[in-house]
Subunit: 425 residues, 2 copies
């Protein structure tokens, strides 16, 4: 991580630049996969599973027996941790349910808004070496609170044709019954178009490799909603003199181990702090099993030194970080000034890891600067909010002139007539 | 409008099919426009304005003097109507502001969510014969409540180089100062990429012709958020014997006059009602200035007759209408059963027109079946919801094991270490 001391504002754009994403090639490779699944259904899914996952499956759907076997394989202490995390996530998301509130905008005009679940949703959970069962909770819990009637989960099988037991245990814990052993773009296609046994869903959630991401982007252009655009994960840590360098370094590395394209940024209040953190990063990275990945990610990463607290705020808002850790003394007052970030972690005892797993907030967050316009996943992501209105005859009389005048001015005579006809004898 | 009596469920898909949208050709025509504006900025915008709008402008931004002139041109009764509509829209949207609610998910773990405005938003307002100043209110009011710092509005100039005065008056009424005389795909490009004088925005809202729609879709793939995918407007009216046929016919025609691609659907409880409405539609359509458009739209439109109230519910949910009018006696109880629609109008005195203009609900709604996964525009559309959390050392101790066990199981050792390092002496 290079250190930049008091960089002038004219350099910020460059210092805060993210690694560029160019996925046109990927899109070209993913399109035929989507088309095949759309045209041939499950036959195509089986073919791609054999080709990409190296396994031939008799049945894509996970059976009751497999769920039971998985449950037996998960250690008790992991089960307890999953259930604790689930409880906290439930507690934080359940209060996001918006009660119906009727507003009488004028006498006789009642308007309200009602949240209703998106009926069918699909969750994608990556497989591979690190089984992201935590994402099952982050997506499954709000889907359950929302009351989505059909929740489909796809995750790639390993060479033995299995999904990691912790993923299946977490799925069961949040009431997901339909789990399919499908990975990659073919999983996104199966959920977007439906197949013989997999229901077509209306919205697809979840992280994935670049193929999955490209597939989600493509199906979203065909009318299937997606959680949000994807990009490499990132963290910005802001630290003042009260921040222990070892804590800051550990937080930076927790992000760096995600992937070689992860970006970690430190904004430090002094050069000595920057150097101390840098030394700690170099020391701690040696201890990590995913050292190579973390070291590669650190190449994309920078330390900015500035003494002015006002600059902290401006740098943060300019970067719009997915994760923001405020490892400073006045964490709450600095937090009040932040207006662009995915999720904010305040103080020296709030590492991002707690939000990644178990504090209760969601870990599916807008990255790559999308925090400027997007929110993280929440209960909102699993519901539609439908507006309702009911006018009495008197209510319509009260608003009659307003509507008629506006409709006439927009030259929409039939809109005007829809009101006036109700007063013709 | 053809009448289908008690159609079997196997026919529903076909009867509820929407006119297909194929915009690949459009995309190919719009792409170079976006690229030109991105590369050349305002020079390109001026060129396209000359070419497509047939007018050469010295200045794109509407001046203070133009705002004043516009205000003088708008009739007093239209001003009063606009202000009344604005007040109702404000009343309905202001209560959507979500207060910050701190949740202690475990002792020492405080989590909350805070709504913050999307800093820069762009609104597109179509020009042409029917000046959609009502959309200025529908987008401008929630932007104002949210507190968006920069609100840019683009609307195409007419041959004289002006924007319709009612659009400018409505913009002023909601506090929008930056209005630009730019239309079509070039307007979307200007807002998505920014130019010498137009700020780049993070989210673009508003309806438009097929070029605008294609441009919005394209820039959304480059990371600019958009309100929702677009499609032709539509209404479904459900009517029982208590519905006056003239009211129902007027509601159907109010939708039909929008465009030749609009779709209007009637679900009637009896054949006699269906016929009475059909006769009324034929009579009333003759009275309309936009008769030709409405007649063309009626070609895409159908009347389904079914006596079973349960079928009403299933047909509605299968169609997922943008607008749903329940012109039935038990409107509230039928409304309770609806789970997929954009906006619902209950009873015989609630024509869609009131929601289009002035009752207070938003008229920017998911069409083309998008109501299955999308909500209409609301205050939510103009804010990001950022999560915050703060743990005390005790709080971290309480959740320590949960996080460490989960991180280890996901083979993310650095995530685990970010917690444990805080307890090393």
């Amino acid at each position: 991580m290079n250190i930049y001391i008091n960089p002038p504002r004219s350099d910020w754009d460059q210092l805060l630049a993210r690694p560029s994403m160019n996925n046109q090639q990927l899109v070209d490779r993913v399109k035929p996969i989507l088309a095949e699944v759309k045209a041939k259904g499950e036959v195509a899914v089986h073919e791609f599973t054999a080709r990409f996952d190296g396994v031939v499956l008799d049945q894509l759907q996970v059976t009751e027996a497999e769920f039971e076997a998985a449950e037996a394989l998960v250690e008790e202490k992991l089960k307890a941790a999953i259930l604790q995390a689930k409880e906290n996530i439930h507690r934080f998301h359940a209060v996001q349910w918006e009660p119906v509130q009727e507003i009488e905008t004028m006498p006789g005009i009642a308007c309200w808004r009602k949240s209703l679940p998106i009926e069918k949703v699909g969750l994608y959970i990556p497989g591979g070496t690190a089984p992201l069962f935590s994402t099952v909770l982050m997506l499954g819990v709000p889907a359950q609170i929302a009351g989505c009637q059909e929740v489909v989960l796809c995750s790639p099988p390993n060479r033995e044709g299995n999904i990691h037991p912790a993923i299946l245990y977490a799925a069961q814990a949040v009431g997901i019954q339909r789990v399919y052993k499908i990975g990659g773009a073919q999983a996104i296609a199966a959920m977007a178009y439906g197949t013989e046994s997999i229901p077509q869903v209306y919205k697809i959630f979840g992280p994935g490799n670049t193929y999955v991401t490209a597939a989600k982007q493509l199906v979203s252009q065909e009318g299937v909603a997606i959680d949000m655009p994807a990009g490499p994960s990132e963290v910005m840590v802001v630290a003042d003199e009260t921040a222990p360098p070892s804590f800051v370094a550990a937080d930076l590395l927790a992000q760096a181990e995600h992937g070689v394209d992860s970006q970690v940024m430190l904004v430090a209040q002094s050069e000595s702090l920057a150097q101390a953190v840098q030394a700690e990063v170099e020391r701690q990275v040696q201890l990590l099993p995913r050292k190579k990945i973390a070291q590669a990610a650190l190449e994309n990463s920078r330390i900015l030194v500035t003494e002015r607290t006002d600059d902290f705020v401006d740098i943060i808002n300019a970067y719009a970080p997915e994760h923001l850790i405020l490892s400073v003394e006045d964490d709450l007052s600095l937090g009040e000034k932040i207006h662009t970030a995915g999720s904010v972690f305040l103080g020296h005892y709030t590492p991002e890891s707690v939000g990644d797993y178990a504090s209760g907030t969601n870990h599916t967050l807008p990255t790559h600067g999308y925090a400027r316009a997007y929110s993280g996943v929440s209960l909102d992501s699993f519901v539609k909010k439908i507006t309702f209105q009911k006018l009495s005859k008197e209510g319509l009389e009260n608003i009659r002139q307003t509507v008629e005048v506006m409709a006439a001015a927009e030259q929409l005579e039939a809109h005007k007539r829809a009101v006036s006809v109700r007063f013709e004898s």
